[in-house]
């Protein structure tokens, strides 16, 4: 097992890793930017090394400085957390070339899964359902029509070089497809200098369901069941829960097995998340595999009782998993709300500043993961997550009730938070009835 590791991240996930290490008896070296220098969670690390100024590109994202910190910190491995360098396969390669352990999968697996096309190819090889679509680019309107008729309408036209919704068009019949194809190609050419267009089935009102997996270096891969992250605002997850409500048990099992097949096919170890969308008929389609720990991992920890960060560190040190698929049972229902320093009344704009006072909720079934306490200053340079409130109860209904009372207990003075929107969602009948898809928040609450 490692004796000393570098925590190459900040905020709550840095604290989460430090906590796991303290329990495992592993010393930690934290990195920080100048903006985070005074954060109290750094006191829980054995050492803290400032790697640069506030701007992430000059500190947390600087591979050379992070590696230098690992060298002067004399660590055996680096935990990348989420975000920043966590899915940078080049960084994982540099670690390997410097003979520093990377607490994550191999750079090869990361690279392969990080590319949309190769990931899709892998998924098909592993017999994991993907959204039906064209086999690569569609060269002409005529080809688009043929594909669309084959997979059925509505279809989505996407620019191969695209992103952020630009160059995307939905078509629900031949007529709209014909006009959409030209528009999309023109827009893509203008925006990205690449008119390449591909086509896939458009899934209406999908649910976002993801499967937590973990594998070791000895070929064992297991899943830890699913999380439902359909409660989103502009593709940002707000609330995550496990189990996914209204998911047929057969679908749940099929998805989880598909996730494990994919990971095995990719030669994947460490923790990972296989993301799917589920359509209104209960069909599920692979989207991507995130080769890191996720923000919402505690939801899975609550229902399975397994500490994912500890397990992730253990397998990175070469230990076998230590549990088999049969050991992993989903017990009760867990919900997580992301508490962000944002102002829901003003378009969720970030609300950095000094937290004058914070009173944290507690009691039965409540877990609060946060690096923040009274007096903490939320820096304007990073994401606005100031805490994750997680509850665990025997039933979903009780979990909602506990989350509501815990949100009302949480007191944050000095900055605005997302607590009001969470309370609004949790009291909505559609949430109670689990009639949630990824468009719910914008459709119902912010429309």
């Amino acid at each position: 097992m490692f004796k000393r590791i570098l925590v190459a991240n900040r905020g709550e996930i840095a604290l989460r890793v430090i906590r796991a290490c303290r329990e495992l008896g592993i010393e930690t070296v934290a990195i920080c930017s100048e903006a985070d220098r005074d954060a109290s969670y750094l006191e829980l690390a054995d050492e803290a090394i400032c790697v640069g100024p506030a701007r992430a590109a000059d500190s947390y994202l600087r591979i050379d400085r992070v590696i230098s910190a690992a060298e002067i910190g004399n660590v055996q491995a680096i935990h990348p957390g989420y975000g920043f360098l966590s899915e940078n396969s080049h960084f994982a390669e540099v670690c390997r070339s410097c003979d520093i352990g990377f607490i994550g999968p191999t750079p090869e697996a990361m690279a392969q899964l990080g590319d949309k096309n190769s990931a899709r190819t892998l998924a098909m090889k592993a017999n994991v359902p993907c959204v039906p679509g064209s086999d690569g680019l569609v060269a002409s309107e005529q080809e688009a029509l043929e594909v669309a008729r084959k997979i059925g309408y509505p279809v989505l036209l996407k620019a191969t070089a695209g992103g952020g919704g630009r160059g995307m068009r939905v078509a629900s019949n031949d007529l709209t497809l014909q006009s959409a194809f030209q528009q999309a190609a023109t827009e893509a050419q203008a925006a990205f200098g690449n008119a390449g267009i591909y086509l896939e089935k458009y899934v209406e009102r999908p649910r976002h369901v993801e499967v937590q997996i973990i594998g070791d270096m000895h070929g064992n891969v297991v899943h830890l069941w699913e999380r439902d992250c359909s409660t989103q605002r502009r593709h940002q997850k707000l609330i995550e829960e496990s189990p996914s409500p209204r998911l047929a048990q057969a679908t749940r099992e099929a998805m989880c097995e598909a996730a494990v097949r994919l990971a095995k096919t990719a030669g994947y170890y460490s923790t990972g998340t296989v993301e799917f969308i589920v359509d209104q008929e209960g069909n599920f389609y692979f989207i991507e595999l995130n080769s890191r720990i996720q923000v919402e991992h505690p939801v899975t920890e609550m229902v399975t009782g397994i500490d994912l960060i500890k397990a992730q560190i253990r397998v990175a040190a070469g230990e076998p998993l230590g549990f088999s698929q049969d050991d992993i049972v989903q017990r009760g229902h867990a919900i997580e709300c992301r508490i962000n320093a944002e102002d829901p009344a003003h378009g969720f704009r970030p609300c950095p500043g000094r937290i004058e006072k914070m009173i944290v909720p507690g009691g039965f079934g409540v877990r609060f993961d946060s690096h923040v306490s009274s007096g903490y200053v939320v820096p304007p340079h990073y994401d606005s997550l100031i805490g994750k409130l997680i509850v665990h109860q025997p039933t979903r209904r009780e979990a909602i009730e506990t989350m509501q009372r815990a949100l009302k207990e949480l007191r944050v003075e000095g900055v605005k938070t997302t607590v009001p929107i969470h309370l609004e969602i949790l009291s909505h009948s559609a949430f109670h009835d689990s009639q949630i898809d990824t468009t719910f928040v914008e459709r119902t609450l912010l429309g």
Binding site: I49, V51, G52, D64, R65, S68, A69, E71, C98
Partner: protein, 156 residues
């Protein structure tokens, strides 16, 4: 709590609490009077002449005491800080003499040390001209970003 309204103006706990309130809420003055008792507290920079009741005057005088000579000089020094994370070396090799030592006159282009990061040896230029007052890091020590390395007196 009885503690909090003891009516004893010399109750240190109460005064401490008042001071905390002032700091927390950025107050510049609190003035409490009752019969023959009075508590008056002022804080923050205050350059104005203060003619006030005796105890208050004493308090403010102390706060406004001029800094010592040494400290005034000190503030004119320039501190060269590390632009990266790595290992600090005073010389280009174990046998070589240090790039700078206390008393040396240096220019902005002068190399003051080497920082090794990822097997690359980076020469760190001074950036200022003046006289080296102190070398703040031991040879071979690990250093973080922004760590003070060398102190220079630009006026000397």
């Amino acid at each position: 709590m009885a503690v909090e309204s003891s009516g004893d103006v010399f109750d240190v706990k109460q005064i401490r609490r008042l001071i905390e309130l002032m700091k927390k809420h950025d107050l510049t003055e609190i003035d409490l009077k009752q019969a023959d008792q009075r508590v008056r507290i002022r804080r923050g920079s205050d350059d104005e002449p203060r003619v006030v009741a005796a105890p208050v005057a004493r308090a403010t005088e102390t706060a406004a005491a001029p800094p010592s000579e040494a400290k005034a000089d000190d503030s004119n020094h320039v501190v060269i800080t590390s632009p990266m994370v790595g290992t600090f070396y005073r010389a280009s090799s174990p046998e070589a003499s240090p790039f700078v030592k206390v008393g040396d006159r240096i220019g902005p282009e002068s190399t003051v040390c080497i920082i090794e990061a990822m097997k690359v040896f980076n020469e760190i230029p001074s950036g200022v001209s003046g006289q080296v007052v102190a070398v703040l890091v031991e040879n071979g020590a690990p250093i973080e970003f922004g760590q003070p390395l060398v102190k220079v007196d630009p006026g000397a």
